[in-house]
Amino acid sequence: NAGVTQTPKFRILKIGQSMTLQCTQDMNHNYMYWYRQDPGMGLKLIYYSVGAGITDKGEVPNGYNVSRSTTEDFPLRLELAAPSQTSVYFCASSPHSGGATDTQYFGPGTRLTVL
């Protein structure tokens, strides 16, 4: 299993440009998440999804959009990029057993710079 994969690894955007960060998992996990991590800070939840066709906002959703058309893929869309969106973005997935807490597994991250 590849686990959680993210593309691209690095990207530089100009202010006002748009882009999509790709995330794919091959573990058949129901739940998927997008986080951002700013230097020296912990992870902040942007959006999450509990299954195909179902998404919800996290702590810092402004400026982002998501969709979940399949179990495997959870792309994050940035519209009108701003310098405040310069960050490292992590995608994660977790199973949902319906019982005990389920662990989130993370991808390698996408480092985005907006100039």
């Binding site: 959680v4 739940y31 998440y33 986080y35 020296g40 800070m41 912990g42 992870l43 902040k44 939840l45 999450y48 509990v50 919800d56 996290g58 992590f90 994660a92 977790s94 949902h96 005990a100 807490t101 389920d102 662990t103 989130q104 597994y105 993370f106 991808g107 390698p108 991250g109």
Partner: protein, 113 residues
Amino acid sequence: EDQVTQSPEALRLQEGESSSLNCSYTVSGLRGLFWYRQDPGKGPEFLFTLYSAGEEKEKERLKATLTKKESFLHITAPKPEDSATYLCAVQELIKAAGNKLTFGGGTRVLVKP
């Protein structure tokens, strides 16, 4: 509002010098507390989950413990390869939908040979 605070922010250790990292949390009801390790340029890697006060878990030189208000990650006789940022995260009972986590700021550990 959930709050997770990790201390210290950074820790420099000599190889073999044991130490502890702290994660204090404020939640209405704890569903689970997670520890992750993050190497530079990589995604967080899962270490432990603790569910109730008094619980302990071990992996190699790492041991995690949990009380009602905080968790400790003890590093015994660390080696340079233990250098990383250690992240703590909590999952609150009332926010269990989606298994959402609230992360602390992390502790950067550097172990010198």
